[in-house]
């Protein structure tokens, strides 16, 4: 991590800093002369956020499943459902802890990596984070009560202590995403005055929070969280069903999350359409990048699949007027192309477009899977008989997480080169500190270890319920409140 001041290619060249800025080769050179290491800062942020976002989705969607299982258990006096709720609540404990700490590091990184953003706009967009802190606090308090209150509270009271976890989780997601929406649609200060003078005046944090991108983005994200948590949890239990563990416990463990996700999926696709149409009106360059549309045109076509090379999409399936129809619900509407802004204000189209296509593809697949399930349930009140359904459900779990990441890449990279759309570039916000790349590599190691450990622990916690081939599951387990508690070995085997 040397910060030498001579260029290694041509040591005599006087123009070191310009050279280093334009050089796209090995990173050692970019680090020379104390240049801000934008790429390392960006990758560190992407890694931390991309990791946290998956866990956070479980943090938002999973408590609803735990509470639902407990509600079923209490209402129907169903010991299997109560067992499930208990086991899931242990999973919740692990996920919540990991989500809490991986989220904390993000607020460190916002200041460490992007001081230009925080110094200038901290008071404009900070409010939702403060409120999110409160929501998170409420969540943490009730998680503490819920997890440790299983045998200390009356069943209905215990169930009720789970409800604030669900509400606060959704609220947290809403507030955090309003802040991200602000980066796309900055409001709550005098933009013209800032662009002219670099001075932030007329701050209105509520206007920043309720910016135009807030409704579509928050809705899209919260529904995504329920899909990721639902399909993810269902996938784990689909594996059990495929392995022949088809007792009530495992059927319920699959049905609850899968039903939740299947309900949400069609709504999510409608919301996705809304979010894309929002871009057409408010962030046209991002939409143009999502679709790889170079020229502004009426009756713009949409291209499905293919790859974006040298300003055009090749090998794709072109649907005439498709984009105009989707974006404005009018086949002849004009859609702005990338050419509307100078080249240095365009996002990297190939990345954005590929991510977007991937998200849409997976979303469509999940819709088909949900429909398959809905039809079978509607006709026969049971799961589709085909094993291929369960195999697809196993795949749907990771696929939903991939769609989540792809959608996130599409929206975040699609905003580039701006950190605050149209107002501040990422390069203006980044820290000058040396050695950011070293910190990034260290964090890669930490997150790799954390991933391995989390998966390992979750397998230990969630697994192990594997021997339900017999009718043991029809007997109420000891320690659950639907049966009189025995004095001896309340938690021991019978």
């Amino acid at each position: 991590m040397s910060a030498g001041t001579t260029c290694r290619l041509t040591p005599s060249c006087p123009n070191v800093s310009v050279c280093a800025r334009n050089y796209r080769g090995p990173v050692v050179l970019v680090l020379a002369a104390g240049q801000p290491d934008l790429e390392a800062a960006r990758q560190q942020m992407a890694l931390s956020l991309g990791w946290h976002i998956v866990i956070a989705c479980f943090g938002v969607g999973f408590p609803a499943l735990v509470v639902a299982a407990e509600a079923v258990g209490i209402r129907r006096r169903d010991p299997d459902a109560l067992r499930l709720a208990r086991r899931w609540s242990k999973v919740l404990a692990v996920l919540f802890a990991v989500g809490a700490v991986s989220g904390t590091i993000l607020s460190f990184e916002l200041g460490i990596l992007w001081p230009g953003l925080m110094r200038t706009f901290g008071d404009v967009w900070g409010l939702p984070f403060a409120i999110e802190g409160i929501a998170f606090f409420i969540e943490a308090i009730f998680v503490g009560i819920y997890l440790y209150g299983w045998d200390r509270l009356r069943p209905v009271v215990h169930l009720l202590t789970g409800v604030p976890i669900v509400v606060a989780g959704v609220a947290s997601a809403w507030f955090v995403v309003t802040a991200n929406a602000w980066m796309n649609q900055p409001r709550g200060f005098d933009v013209g005055h800032y662009l002219a003078t670099g001075e932030v005046v007329d701050v209105d944090p509520w206007a920043a929070m309720f910016n135009p991108a807030t409704p579509p983005q928050t809705t899209h994200m919260i529904l995504a969280a329920f899909m990721v948590a639902g399909f993810g949890t269902a996938a784990v239990h689909a594996v059990s069903l495929l392995r022949g563990r088809t007792g009530r416990y495992h059927r319920l463990a699959f049905l609850l999350p899968f039903t939740m996700a299947a309900y949400v999926t069609p709504i999510q696709i409608t919301v996705g359409d809304w979010a894309a149409r929002f871009l057409a009106d408010n962030q046209p360059v991002k939409l143009a990048a999502l679709e790889g549309l170079e020229k502004t045109q009426r009756g713009a076509p949409i291209t499905i699949g293919g790859i974006y090379v040298d300003g055009e999409v090749r090998y794709g399936l072109e649907v005439p007027r498709g984009l105009s129809l989707l974006a404005q619900h009018d086949p002849n509407a004009e859609v702005a192309g990338l050419e509307t802004v100078p080249e240095d204000e365009r996002p990297p189209v190939a990345v954005v477009r590929t991510a977007f296509q991937l998200m849409v593809l997976i979303g469509s697949g999940l819709l088909v899977l949900s429909a398959w399930f809905a039809v079978a349930w509607w006709r026969r009140r049971r799961l589709p008989a085909s094993r291929w359904f369960l195999r697809a459900a196993v795949l749907a779990g990771p696929a939903a997480a991939v769609a989540l990441e792809a959608g996130w890449v599409a929206t975040e990279v699609g905003r580039q080169p701006w950190i605050v759309y149209g107002v501040m570039r990422v390069s203006e916000a980044v820290t000058d500190a040396p050695g950011i790349r070293a910190g990034y590599y260290a964090l890669v190691g930490v997150y790799a270890a954390l991933t391995v450990a989390t998966v390992y622990v979750l397998r230990r916690v969630a697994g192990g319920g594997g021997s339900d081939s017999g009718d043991a599951w029809d007997q109420p387990p000891p320690g659950d409140d639907v049966v009189p508690r025995t004095e001896t070995g309340a938690t021991g085997p019978r």
Partner: protein, 345 residues
């Protein structure tokens, strides 16, 4: 008191709560680290798990609270502090991740190998994290955080005597606080050997913390004269109160008055935290940035205070319930079988 000063006071309440409750949780990790081998350490470790299990996440939120209030209310201080002290802050951030994950993971598994690994991660990071937070405090308090954007030094702002003092004092204080908390918990559970263990630990760490604090007087005088003047000037009553409370808590601990000893230890830590605030008032970064200069827009400060007030109405009752239930043993872990009440298959 101006509005920004009011918001800083609110944030300082968060700093105090994090120093006391978060500090006690970190200190518990310190005692976990030195609890001994698998067999001899099993009892202490079970007590530690019971003691911090239900509350550490709620206590952790005070850190988040401090961060968001600082960045929303005082963006011109947040940006230089975070970016200027990025090395100790990344280290502390990694420590936060490993501490939380390690603790949660150890609770969730039951085989010895993984419990050892996760436990060691939890315990080691519980020592590292407060050290780096203390170093950050030392850099802010000795005015070594450059405020203007420009070249950032990775080590110079915090590799200096005041930060090292801050780090060492933080670790020792956490250990001391935790010992008094653990002694109370062990006493409530009627675990005589653990009671005397943490009584001993508390007395030992009190001596260490006291020696560090005494030595610190000389260090601050030479290395951070402005802070020293503040501590011996405006902050003197609070510093003196802290010393008295600290001594009282040692006496109470040795006389086995555990509840009172814990209260006195909390008072000692709280007073020194407020003594530090008084000493550097009206500066937010000593000698470089005042509270008024760092403050964000008035509209944001008003909105934040209003939101926090509404939020407090929502979170204070359940928080009180959680702490009371925990204190009364209502949330006693019945999970010593490591299986959460789920019958083994």
């Amino acid at each position: 008191m101006t509005l920004p000063e009011g918001v800083i006071a609110l944030m300082w309440v968060g700093v105090t709560l994090y120093a006391v409750f978060g500090g006690a949780d970190f200190g518990a990790g310190f005692w976990d680290l030195v609890a001994g081998g698998d067999r001899s350490g099993a009892g202490p470790r079970r007590l530690i798990e019971h003691s911090i299990g239900p509350v550490w996440e709620a206590n952790h939120v005070w850190l988040i609270f401090v961060l968001v209030v600082l960045w929303t209310g005082f963006p011109r201080a947040f940006a230089p502090i975070m970016s200027g002290l990025y090395v100790p802050l990344i280290a502390a951030g990694v420590g936060v991740i490993l501490r939380g994950a390690g603790f949660a993971f150890r609770k969730a598994v039951d085989d010895l190998g993984s419990r050892r690994l996760f436990g060691a991660t939890f315990a080691l990071s519980s020592v590292i994290t407060p050290f780096f937070f203390g170093a950050v405090a030392g850099a802010v308090a000795s005015g070594r955080v450059p405020v203007e954007p420009g070249a950032i030094e990775p080590f110079a702002p915090w590799v200096q005597p005041t930060s090292m003092l801050g780090g060492a004092l933080a670790v020792a204080t956490c250990a001391y606080l935790a010992a008094t908390f653990l002694a109370v918990d062990a006493w409530r559970q009627r675990q005589a050997p653990l009671v005397s263990r943490y009584r001993r630990c508390g007395l030992g760490s009190a001596v260490v913390a006291g020696l560090i604090a005494l030595g610190g007087i000389a260090i601050l005088r030479a290395d951070a004269p402005r802070l020293y003047d503040g501590l011996t000037g405006r902050g003197l009553p609070l510093v003196a109160a802290s010393a008295v409370a600290g001594l009282a808590s040692v006496v109470l601990l040795s006389r086995r008055r555990f509840g009172a000893a814990r209260a006195a230890a909390v008072a000692a830590v709280s007073s020194v935290v407020w003594g530090w605030a008084a000493a550097q008032y009206p500066d937010l970064i000593v000698g470089r940035l005042t509270i008024a200069e760092a403050a964000g827009s008035r509209a944001t400060l008003v909105a934040m205070v209003a939101s926090l007030a509404v939020g407090a109405l929502l979170f204070v009752p359940p928080l009180a319930a959680l702490l009371v239930m925990h204190a009364r043993g209502g949330l006693e872990a019945r999970e010593s079988d490591g299986n959460g009440g789920v019958p083994p298959p």
